[in-house]
């Protein structure tokens, strides 16, 4: 009896105390809180997906004004053109097709839409042009006894010209690999660096490789980023300098072979090499792709990739649509029939020419020194 009465007293005092205590809670745990950040919610609704994609590009894509100038693409007009194609009952693949058509207007290889069944793309940057590369011919030049240093395949051709193939900047290379390759080729009269159909990869590798072709710190370009959702909201472009490698640096003529499939990081590599002394770009215009791509996700789970950070050359010009070669050269069918790669043969001639020119200059300089000691 005693026990139950003390329990009842305790419970009553507890209830009174708790009631008073709870009065002091500032509506506390029920506070839903003023939210200043609201994200998009997952949805399969075609309108929601379309709006999200359109807004993603509108606020984050870095070339909208440039594409308007070059291609006449107005992103507001694009909305008006493609939004009426949506229907509430359309299938996922139909929606995918509409969205891919819309993104294709940007003609950007870094703009892709990924769903489980397909990858939306516009590869006109290389599909609309001759490849200017025959891998079969290239393999003939490499032979079977070529060396491999990480991502670099290399050998010395019969006329004592070094030949290096770098197929993808996704294949890792290190300073040691490059130094070993250049040391092996040190007795060559010149170097052919073949990056045809290298569609890019890591910018670090592109920078590392090009740093072996300059003795001085040189300005190679500028980089910027979006600083807000407006089409013109960009940060102040920051200069990009190429620092010379502290290991072996190539001092002889170097020819870089390019085609339309040189894209993204390879485009940046060619941009850097173009500023290096002793380097000549030979072949076709590069494919471009100067915007560093970011990814985003749409409400239905599809992944969107788009160019986010523009990179410019040393003259603050866009390289989004490619870089012109110093010596334009195309693969000739007659040469191909003879088992010759026109670009490699032309590069060998240019190296011979450069070596002869260098030799003549040395003779002239020596003669002048003798005449005017």
């Amino acid at each position: 009896m005693m026990h139950s009465s003390s329990l009842a007293t305790s419970l009553i005092s507890l209830c009174c105390g708790l009631r008073k205590f709870l009065m002091l809670l500032p509506v506390a745990m029920s506070i839903s809180f003023v939210s200043c950040t609201e994200g998009e919610q997952p949805s399969d609704d075609p309108q929601a997906v379309f709006q999200s994609l359109w807004r993603n590009i509108d606020e984050h894509y870095c070339f909208l004004d440039y594409k308007k100038e070059e291609l006449g693409v107005d992103w507001n007009d694009i909305y008006a053109k493609y939004q009426p194609r949506l229907t509430p009952t359309m299938t996922k693949l139909q929606l995918f097709e509409v969205l891919c058509d819309m993104l294709s207007e940007l003609r950007d290889g870094h703009v892709n839409l990924y769903c489980s069944a397909d990858v939306g793309r516009n590869w006109s940057w290389h599909e609309d042009y001759p490849e200017n590369l025959s891998t079969e011919l290239r393999d003939r030049y490499l032979g079977t006894d070529y060396r491999i240093a990480a991502g670099l395949k290399y050998r010395i051709l019969e006329d004592n010209v070094g030949y290096v193939v770098y197929e993808s900047f996704t294949h890792g290379i290190g300073e040691g690999n490059i130094a070993d390759v250049l040391y092996f080729l040190r007795t060559c009269t010149g170097l052919i660096l073949d990056v045809r159909s290298n569609t890019g990869g890591q910018l670090n590798y592109a920078e590392m490789l090009s740093s072996h072709f300059t003795n001085e710190r040189i300005l190679v370009g500028y980089t910027a980023h979006k600083a807000g959702p407006g089409h013109n909201d960009f940060s102040t472009p920051e200069p990009q300098y190429l620092n010379p490698s502290t290991t072996i640096r190539w001092q002889k003529p170097c020819i870089v072979l390019t085609n339309r499939s040189c894209y993204s990081a390879t485009n940046e590599f060619v941009r850097n090499m173009k500023e290096c002394p002793q380097v000549t770009i030979l072949g076709d215009q590069t494919g471009g792709g100067s915007g560093m791509p970011f990814t985003s996700v749409l409400p239905n789970g599809w992944t969107l990739r788009y160019s986010a950070c523009p990179m410019y050359d040393a003259r603050m010009e866009h390289t989004e649509f490619g870089i012109q070669p110093d010596i334009p050269c195309a693969l000739d069918s007659t040469d191909m029939a003879k088992g010759k790669d026109t670009l490699i043969e032309r590069a060998r001639k240019e190296i011979t020419k450069a070596v002869e020119k260098e030799g003549n200059n040395r003779v002239t300089q020596a003669t002048q020194q003798k005449l005017h000691p």
Partner: protein, 276 residues
């Protein structure tokens, strides 16, 4: 009846205001020195993650929280208590049922100094108010990202903290209900700029407003904890803690939007340290 309640409430508010003005020396006379207390709880709940640097989509998933809390009354100034809270969160979010889309992990540390008042008119109730400093380290990782796969969280803050503890006896044991709230007032946080890549920052060394001054308008955040301590030992030195944790952290730096909102049920142990 309503008038009585109003009178009681206004009386308490006056008491609180006067206590604040009087300072801690008066409180020190009223409060007996108490020993330190340490608690360790595990929380399981739901998490909402948003970071528009990665994607405009809000991700939802499960979250696990580990929280270690320690506080003691200052020996020289018994009207002030020092508290430290370590909170580690790990969240795995999945929006489309095809694997984990987003991982998030953060460690928060907060050190607070709070004045404490024992209410005379309501025995067992202690109110606390004060402030402190806090640090957050962590990040969020999207499994879909290319050049923007992750975003780091680094924040230093000054915060305001409020609390109320109510001790009561039930079944001859000391129980306690507590409510604690803290919110950052100002500070600084790291954030990439709107479309800036980590490559630009850390490979090229191009910085652009990457340290952002935070205040309640661009970083409205609030952490609330409601706990019930259930005595399990006779002496009451060890208690089982059940609780609810509402943790809302938001930020709007450089035109980007971030939030980590979680609500968890927590359980763990509380141990009284030293002599009571």
């Amino acid at each position: 009846m309503i008038t009585d309640v109003k009178k009681n409430l206004s009386g308490r508010l006056w008491l609180l205001a006067l206590s604040l003005l009087w300072g801690t020396r008066l409180c020190a006379q009223e409060l007996p020195p108490t020993a330190g207390e340490s608690s360790f709880v595990l929380g399981i709940g739901r998490s909402h993650q948003l970071d528009t640097y990665l994607s405009p989509i809000e991700y939802k998933g499960k979250q696990v929280t580990l929280m270690q809390e320690y506080h003691h009354t200052l020996r020289r100034n018994p009207g002030v208590s020092f508290g430290s809270v370590w909170q580690a969160n790990g969240a795995a979010c999945n929006n489309w049922h095809n694997g984990i889309d987003l991982w998030a992990a953060d460690i928060h540390y907060d050190a607070t100094w709070q004045y404490q008042w024992q209410m005379k008119r309501l025995r067992g109730l202690t109110l606390k108010a004060g402030g402190g400093v806090g640090l957050t380290l962590g990040g969020v990782y999207s499994t879909r990202g290319g050049n923007n796969p992750a975003n780091a969280h680094l924040q230093l803050r000054m915060l305001a903290a409020l609390g109320a503890d109510y001790r009561f006896r039930l079944w001859k044991r000391d129980w306690r209900v507590g409510y604690h709230l803290d919110a950052p007032l100002c500070g600084a946080m790291f954030s990439p700029h709107y479309g800036q890549s980590y490559y630009e920052m850390f490979e090229r060394g191009h910085y652009d407003h990457n340290v952002v001054f935070t205040h309640p308008a661009n970083c409205p955040s609030l952490r609330q904890r409601l706990v019930l301590d259930i005595p399990v030992s006779r002496k009451g030195r060890t208690r089982l803690r059940l609780g609810y944790l509402s943790d809302i952290r938001q930020a709007k730096p450089n035109h980007l939007e971030q939030h980590q909102i979680s609500r968890s049920f927590t359980f763990g142990m509380v141990k009284t340290l030293g002599k009571r």
